[in-house]
């Protein structure tokens, strides 16, 4: 025996030493597999500056709040004035607790984040090692399984998504569940509960993943359980999960509140479908993988499918198939591998694959034959596979997925591909069985010690080499003293509210008055810049309007859209109404050709004054001013005269600010209403309840329309509709209409579309400067014989708008089409002969000049109809006297101002 072998034997002689050695091994592998992260633990992240920055903020917020203000855990300082903002993404509570000491000592969110990455990798591997060693009694099997579960290509592809990568407690939960079901013991149960809880509180993703894994084992064992003792243990698991649930439920409440309050908060089936696995995904490889990174066909690089790096490598597949074969071959035996008890050399006295089966330990308390139970990983594999396929793989309905979705279990998981974590765990376990089977046979029969040791080591090395991925791109992040000085200055201020500007340019918006989809010209750039602002907020913790998360509420989208016009008076009024104290202006984010413009405007606009200058950043103070509440709103209602029997129709509330100051409502919740249909005799035939979201911001005399959706009575005839608004932003009000229910052509299948449109207030508009959004009112009359359908408030953004009638807006300059096409929504359905005033918002070009705004009526997918308006819009030059001309389809604008290229459209 040489010195190395002696040292190894000594290391494995006690469990403490063995575990320390294995932990060190996984730590070393983590350093290699995440290389060069170890060199940037304090100042760099893998996965870009988007999600990692957000997660660094979340764990820092958790760490800061848990011990100082636990009741305010979900009231994060970003996306002001929204509430429960932590619930817009994963809460990462367990990670926050784990990282708190590091965060409090170092004050470095990046270091805290990266140590969690390392912790996740090491503990995932170690946990899986213990689990598979327990199942197979083979250390080599445990190592193989641990290596795969910690470093499989899918997990490595999620290094930038900590909430998916962080799985350290999942194998431990399964291990202690298995131990408890097999042998009982209260500590096993307690530890199961603790690890289940820890993993479940890491993220909602892992609550589902862990629950599925744990429930699968529970069900599988339940099938084979006959004895009372076994049943009691099953109940013990239920009790532990129930106890954990008591702790978990409070964390769900903010999510449920947000779900109730905010439209579009839950994931739709369509959204899920886009992220479901495709057959090609199973050959998708990680670019950083040393063997497959060049992606020779049939392998493919992730590209846009970064969520679906599913190819696990051949080695683990061979091991897993072998594991399955071994299980199959051993079926019906008490302990298939036991007969060839090939002990792990250094450990001694351990059996080969399957020895962990019932009865062999002789404790007399085994409750189920795990030889049969060991098929569990295979079933887990199938379960994971079914779930990654999403709701409709290849157009075929996936009942298990759909059932789980409708049970509400998947409504916060945007990406079904993430269920691959379950596949990875199952593959790791099966590969462990395969490895154990092989090692048992390699160990048995003696032979030269060198080869006896080298053979399993070779197998492990082959697995490691095939998985090996290094040279991940590190995004360096300013930390400590490198953080811009402005943030430490902010930290010295009192209770102030801040917005950092400018944000990225918006792409052409279809309708600015309702669906603010926040389509940026550079989506990644926007995400990274906002996430960086969020990260920097960990250095001052002031409330900021900026934000980055899994959900962007209407307030945020509207404010960011309005800020495209900053420092216009309108945008300043909004900031004033929001109670914003400071605008942090980042000169680095300004387009070079607009720096001069902003240099003039920011220092000359009334209501804005410089407070502090930090070179790349300048802080401006926003003057305070009065705001009015809902009592200043003049609210009317509009509905169609005629509607189709039994069909949905839209009516609208029109709210106008008659007060002497801007109106703002920070209430994100909806307001309920009740609509009652009564027939000619006064008999109530239908009572419907619904909800709508009130206006957010209205300047003086500005109006907004709010659509409501109702269902018409089935019987034709004349009805009286009484609309009663319940308590909410607009207060309790009621309106009465007469509605004819009968057959009428509808714009979704148009016959005779005709109409007129005119602008309220003259066809020449002057703007002092480019502004974010411009409020306008139009008189619209339905002069045809067709009912115009308007859109609905709860329509999904991607739904097709076929047949909806809207006001269309396009922009021209000297006969050449410039800027973007826009749409304005009607307040409700309009029946033939009806006319209505439509208040809406349009977005003028962001450069000075004389423009013609062409306005008309458009029936989506069927074309324009009725008359069209040509409205002259003069956007004054803030720099010089002469008026500039906007560019045609290409080339820079005169004077050095350029419309973003993505905004330009072909010449008319």
């Amino acid at each position: 025996m040489n010195r190395f072998e002696k040292a190894l034997e000594w290391s494995l002689a006690t469990k403490t030493r063995e575990y320390a050695l294995v932990l060190l091994l996984f730590l070393a592998l983590t350093v290699v597999f995440t290389w060069p992260l170890v060199l940037h633990l304090h100042n760099g992240v893998i996965g870009g500056r988007g999600d990692p920055m957000l997660n660094a903020w979340i764990i820092s917020w958790d760490a800061k709040t848990i011990f100082t203000n636990p009741s305010g855990l979900f009231q994060g300082n970003i996306i002001y004035p929204s509430r429960d903002v932590l619930a817009y993404s994963e809460h990462l509570f367990a990670m926050g607790i784990l990282t708190a000491p590091v965060y409090f000592i170092s004050g470095n969110p990046v270091l805290s984040y990266n140590l969690l990455v390392v912790f996740a990798a090491v503990l995932s591997g170690f946990g899986c090692y213990l689990l598979v060693k327990e199942l197979t009694s083979s250390r080599w099997a445990g190592l193989a399984a641990g290596v795969f579960f910690a470093f499989c290509p899918y997990k490595l592809s999620k290094l930038g998504h900590l909430h998916v990568f962080f799985s350290p407690f999942l194998p431990f939960a399964l291990l202690y569940e298995y131990r408890y079901l097999r042998k009982g013991g209260k500590w096993n149960l307690v530890l199961f509960g603790v690890f289940f809880l820890a993993q479940a509180l890491s993220s909602w993703h892992y609550l589902i993943f862990t629950s599925l894994v744990v429930a699968s084992l529970w069900l599988w064992v339940a099938v084979f359980t006959r004895r009372r003792e076994g049943l009691m243990r099953l109940l013990g698991i239920v009790a532990a999960v129930a106890a954990a649930a008591i702790i978990i439920v409070p964390f769900a409440l903010p999510y449920l509140r947000a779900h109730d309050r905010l439209p579009g908060f839950e994931r739709s089936m369509d959204e899920l479908e886009g992220y479901a696995a495709t057959p090609e995904d199973f050959l998708r490889v990680l670019p950083e993988n040393l063997v497959y990174g060049d992606a020779a066909p049939p392998f493919e690089l992730p590209g846009e499918r970064g969520e679906s790096v599913f190819f696990p490598g051949f080695v683990v597949l061979v091991f897993a198939l072998l594991g399955l074969a071994a299980l199959w071959a051993g079926r019906g035996k008490e302990a298939g591998g036991g007969g060839e008890a090939g002990a792990d050399d250094a450990g001694g006295g351990e059996a080969g694959a399957g020895k962990a089966g019932a009865g062999k330990k002789g404790d007399g308390r085994e409750i189920f034959p795990f030889r049969r139970g060991a098929a569990f990983p295979f079933l887990l594999l199938l379960l994971g596979f079914v779930l990654v396929l999403g709701p409709e793989p290849h157009g075929i309905s996936n009942p298990p997925f759909i059932a789980m979705f409708h049970l509400g279990l998947l409504k916060f998981i945007r990406v079904p591909s993430r269920f691959y974590v379950i596949v990875a765990l199952a593959l790791a376990m099966l590969a462990g069985y395969g490895m154990a089977w092989l090692v048992a046979r390699l160990r048995a029969g003696g032979g030269k010690r060198g080869l006896r040791r080298a053979a399993p080591f070779c197998l492990l090395l082959i697995l490691v080499f095939e998985l090996m991925s290094v040279n991940f791109t590190i995004a360096e992040v300013p930390v400590g003293g490198e953080v811009p000085e402005v943030y430490s200055w902010l930290e010295q201020q009192g209770d102030v509210r801040v917005i950092e500007l400018p944000t990225s340019y918006l792409s052409p918006a279809v309708s600015n008055d309702r669906d603010l989809g926040l389509a940026f010209t550079d989506v990644l750039g926007f995400h990274e810049s906002e996430a960086t602002v969020v990260y920097f907020s960990t250095y001052h913790w002031k409330k900021i309007v900026n934000g980055y998360s899994g959900y962007f509420p209407y307030h945020y989208r509207r404010t960011i859209t309005e800020m495209q016009g900053f420092p216009s008076q309108r945008s300043l009024e909004l900031l004033r109404a929001l109670g914003i104290d400071y605008v942090v202006w980042n000169w680095e984010a300004v387009q070079p050709q607009r720096r001069e413009e902003f240099n003039v405007r920011l220092f000359s606009v009334p209501g804005l004054s410089m407070v502090e200058d930090f070179g790349d950043y300048t802080v401006f103070g926003v003057e305070t001013g009065p705001v009015v509440g809902a009592e200043a709103l003049d609210v009317g209602a509009f509905g169609p005269d005629t509607v189709l029997p039994g069909e949905d129709f839209n009516l609208g509330l029109i709210a106008r600010n008659r007060g002497g100051a801007p109106f703002i409502s920070l209430e994100e919740g909806s307001q309920r209403y009740q609509a009652t249909f009564a027939d000619a005799e006064g008999t109530t035939v239908s009572v419907q309840d619904g909800e709508f979201w009130g206006p957010f911001f209205l300047r003086q005399e500005e109006a907004v329309s709010i659509p409501l959706c109702l269902k018409a009575p089935r019987e034709s005839g004349r009805y009286r509709l009484q609309l009663a608004l319940r308590e909410g932003v607009l207060g309790e009000r009621s309106f009465t209409f007469d509605v004819d229910v009968g057959e009428i052509p509808v714009s979704t299948q148009p016959a005779g579309l005709d109409g007129t449109i005119s602008i309220v207030g003259g066809e020449t508009i002057g703007l002092a400067s480019p502004d974010g959004l411009l409020p306008l009112s139009f008189e619209v009359e339905n002069a045809g014989d067709t009912l115009w359908k308007a859109t609905t408030q709860d329509k999904e953004p991607d739904e097709v708008d076929v047949g909806l009638v809207r006001i269309g807006v396009s922009w021209e300059q000297k006969g050449v089409k410039v800027w973007e096409d826009q749409r304005c929504n009607l307040p409700g359905d309009i029946a033939p002969g009806q006319e209505v005033t439509v208040s809406t918002l349009v977005r003028p070009p962001p450069v000075p000049g004389a423009f013609t705004m062409r306005v008309g009526l458009v029936c989506e997918f069927f074309g324009w109809f009725g008359n069209s308006l040509e409205i002259e819009v003069e956007i004054e030059n803030w720099m010089r006297e002469e008026t500039r001309e906007a560019p045609a389809a290409s080339g820079p604008a005169p004077g050095g101002y350029a419309l973003p290229a993505a905004h330009l459209i072909e010449a008319a």
């Binding site: 063997v291 060049d294 020779a296 392998f299 051949f314 080869l451 080298a454 053979a455 070779c458 082959i462």
Partner: protein, 533 residues
């Protein structure tokens, strides 16, 4: 040899008959690997049409050897490229009518044939499955595949190095003198194929001296082996002595003595690092892609692991020495092309084969059920197949950046067409070009050198005295090239004064469009030199 080993290690099941069948099975598998290596190399060779400067030298030397037993080009006794590879082309040309085909096929054959000694070495040291895995990996190894597509000496040299190493390993294992002498003979032949053969002799010599020092070899055996290894070199030195008056005449020696270290862009450490990762990335190299990392990972991993196992250690040391002597030693003084690394590929593949094959070897020794072996074999096959499949992008890149790259070099296709046209349409009289041995090859007869060539071939015609020297040497035709349709530029490249253009008659000009995104247009111009003023 193959069958003999088969009988020795088998026989647990099925008796001697079964063992024989299994041996035939291994032979079939090896032949399959050879066929794959041959086909994959020919796939690239079939596409290549323009070769390196060196290739044309080998081809012309082979032709002159066969038809006049003259080791010279254009009447210049040759002192750069060593003779064994041209001799082997000349030999193949006896059976293959086209010299060009013989040249291309030779490299493909020699390179593909390396799978046999690679298998044998793997089998000898690590076991049969390790051998077959190593051979399969060599069959698809990117550098050797890409560079087998043109007539170059690396294929033959690597084959001889492999044979020498195989016999040396056999000697290390069995101490049979015959193996030692065969190893020395093969190393000697390698030394007259490429100069790196001397490094092969050196490192094998070091091992041999160590074994002599430890008493495992007798002095007379060492001396005989040394004599055998140096004999071919001595013969070639004798030829040099007769032709040049000195035994050590070599263009390489001149190149090294005249080498300016300040021109080297990398430090020695960086050059060794690049060698170790088998990469010649820009700026000094050509490839845009690093070597296939999987080969490196498994190769070095296997070699490292072999060092850890006592029973493999001495062989692993030999393989490490082979890898280092065939690579970094080359790079200690300059860095040029990734093809220099081809002779270092076999030990790398053997390392990978060891890693894949050792568990199987363990199984085989214990003679357990076939199913277990099948699983491990499946594992090895899967990983080998994965490495083979994923090596394609690197192979394509090496081919594109090293071989396709030649298609505009020295006028590329345009020069070839011009020379072939001149061969078919030109009259009597000498031809002078600035295209090196390429002109002699396509013309089917020796062409004179316009200016010196590659700092070792003296000029037949001084470009500054084109008319005078030309008339003196009986030159009638001049062929020059450019990257644009610009005679002045072509003359500038050739070093000819544009003032004499009016005194030359342009007979034909040829154009070849770019064949790749990195290539440019090529033009060639054929002039006739007036016989008198």
């Amino acid at each position: 040899m193959l069958l003999k080993y088969g009988r020795k290690n088998t026989g647990a099941k099925g008796g001697p008959g079964g063992a024989r069948w299994r041996s035939w099975g291994w032979l079939a598998a090896l032949l399959l690997v050879f066929a794959a290596a041959l086909a994959w190399r020919w796939h690239f060779a079939a596409k290549s049409q323009i070769y390196t400067y060196d290739s044309y030298y080998y081809l012309v030397l082979a032709r002159n050897l066969r038809h006049g037993f003259e080791y010279a080009v254009a009447g210049h006794p040759h002192f750069k490229f060593l003779p064994l590879y041209p001799l082997s082309i000349a030999f193949l040309d006896l059976f293959i009518p086209s010299l060009e085909m013989a040249g291309k096929l030779s490299n493909v054959l020699f390179s593909a044939a390396c799978v046999f000694p690679v298998f044998s070495m793997g089998r000898l040291v690590f076991g049969r499955r390790a051998g077959i895995a190593a051979a399969a990996l060599f069959a698809f190894e990117p550098i050797s595949v890409a560079w087998s597509s043109v007539p170059m000496s690396e294929g033959l040299f690597t084959l001889l190095a492999c044979l020498s190493a195989l016999f040396f390993l056999r000697w290390m294992k069995g101490c049979r003198r015959r193996d030692l002498y065969l190893a020395a003979g093969a190393a000697g032949l390698a030394a007259v194929t490429r100069w790196e053969g001397m490094l092969l002799i050196a490192f094998e010599g070091l091992f041999l001296l160590y074994y002599w020092y430890r008493g495992r070899a007798r002095l007379e055996h060492v001396l005989i082996a040394g004599g055998l290894a140096l004999a071919p070199v001595a013969v070639f030195a004798l030829r040099n002595l007769i032709v040049f008056g000195t035994p050590f005449k070599s263009a390489y020696a001149d190149e090294m003595s005249n080498y300016l270290p300040q021109l080297e862009m990398f430090s020695k450490g960086e050059r060794i690092r690049r060698y170790l990762i088998f990469s010649d990335l820009d700026p000094s190299g050509i490839s845009s892609r690093s070597y296939h990392w999987g080969y490196l990972l498994f190769g070095y991993g296997g070699l490292a692991l072999s060092l850890c196992v006592r029973r493999f250690r001495r062989y692993a040391l030999f393989l490490w020495a082979w890898l280092i002597f065939m690579g970094p030693m080359h790079f200690l003084w300059y860095f040029a092309s990734v093809r220099f690394l081809i002779p270092a590929v076999p030990p790398l593949c053997l390392g990978a084969g060891a890693l894949l094959g050792v568990p199987v070897e363990k199984m085989e020794r214990r003679r357990l059920p076939a199913a277990t072996g099948a699983v491990l074999l499946a594992l090895a096959v899967c990983v080998t197949a994965a490495l083979a499949v994923t090596s394609r992008p690197a192979t394509n890149d090496f081919y594109r950046r090293n071989i396709t790259f030649l298609e505009d070099d020295l006028g590329g296709f345009a020069s070839r067409e011009a020379l072939l046209w001149l061969r078919d349409n030109g009259g009597e009289g000498e031809v002078v070009t600035n295209m090196g041995a390429e002109a002699s090859f396509y013309l089917g007869r020796d062409a004179l050198f316009l200016g010196d060539w590659q700092d070792f071939e003296p000029a037949d015609v001084d470009p500054g005295r084109l008319l005078e020297d030309g008339r003196e040497k009986g030159v009638r035709y001049i062929v020059i090239y450019s990257t644009r349709r610009d005679i002045e530029n072509a003359m500038e490249i050739a070093g000819i004064d544009y003032g004499i253009a009016s005194r030359l008659e342009l007979m034909a000009e040829f154009y070849a469009p770019p064949t790749d995104t990195d290539n440019v247009s090529a033009y060639a111009f054929v002039f006739e030199l007036p016989t008198e003023e």
